[in-house]
């Protein structure tokens, strides 16, 4: 048998010898059959991939190869910010001011919430959504307010979906919960790719361009503070807040995790978080714990403050207290 045949199986190469012979035609038939199997298999795979024609949810090549936040040089960061500016402009027809605001020296942020004053109006919830460019459909909220019956801290007894004519209601107190910016954050520990970390000013941030969307941090958080973009966020064009920061409130892509970051685009520029500014009762207090003369230092020293779930050892930077 010779292997020098010149058979014309385009690209398939030749597996059998030329000439007549029963075994040769068997070989040829079997080869043709195998080619047909492989070809129809490939065609079927191609057909089943059809929905990919609508694939627009993933980013550009620059986005794909982008390095981790901590490894970007200032020049590279400038390029990234320019790219994000362009993307936001294209999508929302608004020219944003995207910065990479760094933590300030000698500052560690702490939050305190006065449960005596909170009336459960949820203005903080909505101010947060507006400030931080959260998806409106489906709506993502960083703050969850629980309506708790007096006399218990068992959160299973709390009502998440209360909707009375007016608040507050007698016999209840209201407890807003958001990211506690823990000093010992389980979410940071479990992230397999270091996409989330604690900054020197105490804020736990997320690099939305590095997160792989495994949601392990969501499972790890004892305060249910993290949210996942189950689909492409949608924000009406006229609702965009153009004052943006890379680790803060710039629009997020589909498939990544986000959460409260103490409005770092505001607080790192010397302003208060949006939830605090909107609060009608002054229940929310925020400031620099490293400054002994700050209001927050006074509260922590003089009020009977406590943290949620102290037993899990997360050391929150978010405190609660009662006035009376």
């Amino acid at each position: 048998m010779t292997n020098s045949c010149k058979c014309n199986h385009g690209g398939g190469g030749c597996s059998s010898g030329g000439g007549g012979g029963g075994s040769d035609s068997m070989n040829r038939r079997s080869f043709l059959r195998k080619s047909a199997i492989v070809a129809s298999g490939v065609a079927a795979i191609a057909a089943s991939l059809a929905p990919l024609r609508d694939l627009a949810s993933f980013g550009s090549v620059d986005d794909f190869v982008q390095k981790h936040y901590k490894e970007l040089s200032p020049e590279e960061m400038a390029k990234v910010l320019a790219r994000i500016t362009k993307e936001v402009e294209q999508q929302y027809k608004v020219r944003p001011h995207v910065r990479d605001l760094k933590p300030m020296d000698g500052v560690e942020f702490v939050y305190a919430l006065n449960l005596t004053r909170c009336i459960g109006c949820r203005r903080c919830v909505h101010a947060c959504v507006a400030e931080n460019n959260q998806s409106r459909s489906p709506e993502i909220q960083y703050i969850r307010v629980l309506k708790m019956p007096n006399g218990t801290f068992d959160m299973e007894k709390g009502d998440h979906n209360y909707a009375p004519e007016s608040v507050p209601e007698k016999g209840f107190f209201y407890m807003p919960v958001q990211c506690h910016q823990c000093k010992n954050p389980p979410c940071v520990k479990v992230c397999p790719v270091n996409a989330t970390w604690q900054e020197p000013d105490g804020i736990t941030v997320i690099d939305y361009n590095w997160c792989i969307g495994c949601r392990y941090c969501e499972a790890a958080c004892p305060y249910w503070a993290r949210r996942f973009n189950f689909t492409k966020p949608s924000i009406p064009k006229d609702k965009i807040n153009p004052d943006m920061s890379y680790l803060g409130n710039r629009p997020r892509p589909q498939g990544v995790v986000e959460k409260c970051h103490f409005c770092l685009q505001r607080t790192r520029a010397g302003r208060y978080p949006a939830c605090l500014e909107v609060c009608p009762t002054g229940a929310r207090k925020f400031g620099n714990i490293l400054d002994p003369n700050s209001e927050i230092s006074y509260i922590l020293k003089n009020k009977r403050v406590f943290v949620l779930k102290e037993e899990v050892g997360t050391l929150p930077r978010f405190f609660y207290y009662f006035d009376v």
Binding site: L49, L55, I212, G213, C214, C221
Partner: protein
Amino acid sequence: MKPIKNYLHFLARCGATALDGDWRYFAWVGLLFAICLLGLNAYTKQLVHGLIVTNMSDQVSWGVYIANFTFLVGVAAAAVMLVIPVYIYRNQELHDLVIFGELLAIAAILMCLGFVTVDLGRPDRFWHLIPGIGKFNFPGSMLSWDVIVLNGYLILNLHICGYLLYRRYQNKKPAWWAYMPFVFVGILWAVSIHTVTAFLYVGLGGRPFWNSAIVGPRFLASAFTAGPALIILALQVIRWVTDYRVSDRALLTLRSIVQVAMLINVFLLLNELFKEFYTGNLHVASAKYLYFGLHGHNALVPWIWTAIAFNLTAMVLLVLPASRSLKWLDVACVLAILGIWIEKGMGLVVPGFVPTPLGEVVEYSPSLNETLICLGIWAFGLLCYTVLLRVAVPILKGRLDGSSETLRPTLATNA
């Protein structure tokens, strides 16, 4: 160059063998392939629209993907239950069957990798997980440990199976140093893959249902029940559709493994139930949700009682002499596999999220698209196992070897 050429030739012949078979083979492979494509089609929809096509939520942020992943890590780990008797206790009956167990481990790990991949919101960024190129949070994150142990286990088993089969193909005796060290490392490694997967859950202090020392031992006990049970069934299929002889005695050796593992599994379950319900503190909420329902929500209740009924029936059957007959042994194996699949999958993953850390009760059951993706991955795993066996059996039987160019005819394909 010649060894490389020979090896490539070996691979080519394996490929050709995989594309060869009778109509039953093609019908089976064709069916699995079609289900794979259904799953692939469903996955492309998920890629386009996001995980919103699943029924997962911020409240229940892991679902049936991670449930199947957890179960299959156990199946993969169970290959050692064939390896230990053979290489440590010199059991000759199981000797040649080890390779079938390890091929099953390969297929199971491939399915595991599939299930984690489809669970990712950004699979395009998988390279962030590659040590050296990405930014790997090791040793901090248990998930990074899992990436290492699962891929390591895959490589170990690919090497052991590939090496033994290639030597058989060449009609040469395997050199002990080229595989025995890996076999022993593999035994420890198998325990590690399931322990690390358990630690993924155990390490979360904010989830009392998972944050319990018994989860790891229970994982191993249930894996060493369901895994060998699956191998018992697989071996019977192998001897039914191929000319490979598997003795009844080998199956009965595996039966005693499943028997002991199931007794330990049920004992550990009782330990957990006692701790949860006798203490009666607030942390019992998840267990209460799972077994009895919570505040009128009880989606998992029928499932978990089915699982318990299956496990207990399987245990009784396995202990009784009746299961020395293959018919009853098979019934026990099927019940044990289904029971553990429910209990280790949905029964472990979902209650961990219910109620949420803020006390909210949101239920979960998989969507159609999610289910199709799961079926696709299972079909893919079965397809891999079928093809691996399609190649391995002729090599082990000496019909596919380096000395002849054609596949020697099968003597009998059916018993």
